[in-house]
Symmetry: C4
Subunit: 364 residues, 4 copies
Amino acid sequence: MTYQASNEEHPIEIINIASLEGRVKERMEKGAFGYIRGGSEDEWTMKENTSSFHNKTIMPRVLRGIDHADLHTKLWDIDLATPIIQAPSAAQGLAHEKGEADTAKGVAAAGSIFSISTYANTTIEDAAAAAPNAPQFFQLYMSKDDGFNAFILEKAVKAVILTADSTLGGYREEDIVNKFQFPLPMPNLAAYSAESDSGDGEGKGIAEIYAAAKQGLVPEDIKKIKDLTSLPVFVKGIQSPEDAEVAIAAGADGIWISNHGGRQLDGGPASFDVLPLIAGVVNKRVPIVFDSGVRRGEHVFKALASGADLVAIGRPVIYGLNLGGAEGVTSVFNHLNKELSITMQLAGTRTIDEVKNTRLYDAK
Amino acid sequence: MTYQASNEEHPIEIINIASLEGRVKERMEKGAFGYIRGGSEDEWTMKENTSSFHNKTIMPRVLRGIDHADLHTKLWDIDLATPIIQAPSAAQGLAHEKGEADTAKGVAAAGSIFSISTYANTTIEDAAAAAPNAPQFFQLYMSKDDGFNAFILEKAVKAVILTADSTLGGYREEDIVNKFQFPLPMPNLAAYSAESDSGDGEGKGIAEIYAAAKQGLVPEDIKKIKDLTSLPVFVKGIQSPEDAEVAIAAGADGIWISNHGGRQLDGGPASFDVLPLIAGVVNKRVPIVFDSGVRRGEHVFKALASGADLVAIGRPVIYGLNLGGAEGVTSVFNHLNKELSITMQLAGTRTIDEVKNTRLYDAK
Amino acid sequence: MTYQASNEEHPIEIINIASLEGRVKERMEKGAFGYIRGGSEDEWTMKENTSSFHNKTIMPRVLRGIDHADLHTKLWDIDLATPIIQAPSAAQGLAHEKGEADTAKGVAAAGSIFSISTYANTTIEDAAAAAPNAPQFFQLYMSKDDGFNAFILEKAVKAVILTADSTLGGYREEDIVNKFQFPLPMPNLAAYSAESDSGDGEGKGIAEIYAAAKQGLVPEDIKKIKDLTSLPVFVKGIQSPEDAEVAIAAGADGIWISNHGGRQLDGGPASFDVLPLIAGVVNKRVPIVFDSGVRRGEHVFKALASGADLVAIGRPVIYGLNLGGAEGVTSVFNHLNKELSITMQLAGTRTIDEVKNTRLYDAK
Amino acid sequence: MTYQASNEEHPIEIINIASLEGRVKERMEKGAFGYIRGGSEDEWTMKENTSSFHNKTIMPRVLRGIDHADLHTKLWDIDLATPIIQAPSAAQGLAHEKGEADTAKGVAAAGSIFSISTYANTTIEDAAAAAPNAPQFFQLYMSKDDGFNAFILEKAVKAVILTADSTLGGYREEDIVNKFQFPLPMPNLAAYSAESDSGDGEGKGIAEIYAAAKQGLVPEDIKKIKDLTSLPVFVKGIQSPEDAEVAIAAGADGIWISNHGGRQLDGGPASFDVLPLIAGVVNKRVPIVFDSGVRRGEHVFKALASGADLVAIGRPVIYGLNLGGAEGVTSVFNHLNKELSITMQLAGTRTIDEVKNTRLYDAK
């Protein structure tokens, strides 16, 4: 039985991001939905990711003459229409026939950054071609095989995101219950297989793919990746001030704070709770991208006000992709941008810089 | 299809204020009810508004000889039978055929202050006529058109409430789901339309009305309003100590602490939680009105003990209006006055001044 | 229709005290049950009374050789088999035909203190006769009529409890919904009526009875009561350190910490939360009785360890009375004594004095 | 009617430990299940035991090159494949026909420590024979009869666990409701009976068994046990720093922190909440075993990081025994070991010593 993904292409109506999950659940194959939605073990950290935004409140300023909000911002020389970017996630063919190509197109239409995973169901080249001139990042799951690393980094477009928090997969019970296996090929791996072998690398199983992955990164790995590419390198999965310091010392060009959407270590802190600690250590030396748990414009505002330069969203994009293809992805960005604009205007902030300079208050 | 509002006129039985919502829900058109009841986004701030009163407790004094409670108080030269006043709210024709005229009458019968909104379904003059000699306030949604501001401020009776927290409408999902549009005309706008145009301003859509509103107030706007009226001016929607200071420096005659009943910025603090901070900054230079979340006499007591001079109620009044017209409104005041009296007497306080001098204790 | 109360006389099986409420609810007339069970307004303080015991934990000591627990204690010269006494409550004829006479008998069988209310359905004399030689206290609702005070205090047996927290009745919604009226005569009032009038005082309505009550006690009232009786006088309803000091200065022989089981001021603190503050001020000058929310031997232990000398239970006794008459009341004491013994032994304390010297720890 | 226990012998599939309870409930006699599952009174402490692990979070380190986790550790000269050991529990014949013999075999297969209770349904000798050379501990419920203590301690294999927190049984309501009585003989008691008497000691009732137990241990009892055996002696049931100090001063070779799985004192702290306090006092003078509430590898990690040297599990083992005999027991260890390995690797720790040196963070 071949896997049937969505092939719809249209904007979607969105009341709020949280409600997308239920809409997708009704349409998607159970195992695939479980893989996308699920977190690890008790999903405590996953739930905390979102509820922790209530640990801080925004004390609105109402006499600052704010008659509109301007979401534009920059990362290095990249102009962005919004501080909300897409968080890389694997296997987007589960959500839509066009997979990462459609996500790339939808994110580009929103004027934001798309990142393609090593474990994408689309090649880096095809995703880039789907959104020419858009600032595509590449999420590397580093391999023990340096030939693979060199081969694939050469294809990266704008920046590299080195995943550091996947020394192994988190214990996600729903995948066990569903006996979930990736049903679709991974062409970036196949391409390397084709190049290095005599062409029969296609159809490689997930077990082999994971076996090739390098578990347990060390600071020297950051240096090695820096040597293999001239692009800037984010280190993703940072959850402690110590690791942020180590990564910067090893040459990281950016810190990507994430707990993988609660999919890895359960019992760790909410990503938002550690953000201020890490931002204090980073101290503006390199940009900070923040993800995990963001479902509201309010959450984006609070993350920016707590030290993030950009805020990434993962599952919401995949849900938008499933419900409406590239246009569905753009709808998700449009909706969150709308909520963020309203929040900014009601909070008394006009620009992203003003948001970043807003002091939040501890909730009672 | 014309909108059908209530036309009942009688006192109502009230067990508690919270139960009114369910009674109104059964009778009112869904969109109108959603507009009145709803808060923004997750309604987190809206719920916190009421639950936050539990963050403080009243430590009762039982040996102070309190055999009755006296609710009388004053605002400037205005004698009031109760520290509970009505919070201005738009479009009361949704609740009752007589709209603001009935509310004005019911509030006057309770010996309290009625405030009419720019976006009322009754003219300022008609509402005033419904309750002659009552201390009617006027809630201004400032316009970009100074002619409008001058035209309408001239009609204000006793004081002006300048709304500062509506730089744009909060994101209220229930209105989106219901595709809610105001079904009734706004005669205060129509009157200005009639005066300045050649008379065809009636039936103006909500979109145009909101387009005319001035978003993003600045301190100079307070000065401008002060120049256009000799009445005292409250600035409404203050949620931060900084804004209170700015408003007073710009000439505000009173500070109205409110988060619009949780209808604007979601993720902001409960109004009660910021009250002591703001009262500390105001330091009795001008009177403080407090609203958002008040459903019990106990809440009124705690707000007064935390720095408020008067406490305003919004939705409860509209529910009373729907259930019993002017007399229903009076019933709401009577009920809360009864609860407040009992609370005062059990707490060991005889007068509103004694309540204000009561120290609350942090809940465990 | 005459009111039908229970007339059963037998011990009752008790798994835990909390489960008694449901058993009584099935048998008792709705209005009477609502009156006994109910608290005021949102019942927030009532619920906090019990849940607040979790704010402290008992850190057990296991190497102190405790092979039994001794519950005996003393109040002045009164030997008690348990530190758990009965809290006075009105109108026990609602629960059982024999009313306070059976309660007195059941409490005496448990070797503890019974207190009879001014508003009992049994005379002070009849209750005393039901349990000869038992240490019966008398709960006075002071009257504006000093003749009444003198008349009734003369009948008191062992000590007087002056109720200070009932300047008026709390707002108990269940009584309003049920339109509850006391269905039974109040013979202590009738007796005074018979003496002072020409004998037609019987059947006096509740309205008149409450009208005769003195609302708003002052310290001088304590002195006045002390002048009218040679018995020791507890002041009941203390919830603040200030009032404890005032009461002692006015001559109180004991402090009775209570918030009337959450039936008076809603929004006040849990009684257990204020106990340490008040005990600190009292500083062993006079004995402290504590009530409100006690449903476990564990709660008794924690109250004793927080400064109480004796711990009183109200509703549980009435439920026992309803379910089994005098023997049912004794069953309630036996059960709580058993739980207290187990708690003491597991905590590493042998005597009530050792419990009082146990330090509790703040829960996380 | 004879008691029917499970006789299944096979590995079991485990998604998570919490789900075992429901699977066992469906199969086991109600009274036996209630005895095993239940805690005392409100089960507040029992629930806190597990939920309190959320009071601390693990801040993961992701750049330390962790490509595997090594669970091996040592207690004295005992090599262990895992820091997770079995907590002694009585009457395992309730779960499985082979009782403690199967548990011993299953624990040995996991390379861990099995402890047999005085109140086992298997003799110490038979349990030891079921797992030759495995490091079997013996849990002593001390007797008032020193002959018994000497008789039974002589059979102990590797270490003695002196139970100190059972001065009497906790008040477990489910046992009362079910009128639970142990349906099976206790051969360790019978063996002593046979030796000292003329052979008719079999079938001794539970009441007599408990009557023989020494309630209320004192420090001298530790010394006495030390004199009766050359094995190291743990004192089990420590929940306060003071008792840890007392036990060590009296000669304890190890501290076993436990609140008996919430089965004794309700209203005491979660075992995990007191662990850091006690570890601070013990200060590595003797090893610490921790139990109560552990259901996840994450919990094991947090306990080790808070001062425990080994972490024991009670009910999960019994559930595994019921579902699959010796192999079911091993499955439980395998599952928790897997979760612990994943947690260690994701947290950035390779060895148990590194886990112990991890600093946890207070949850927000």
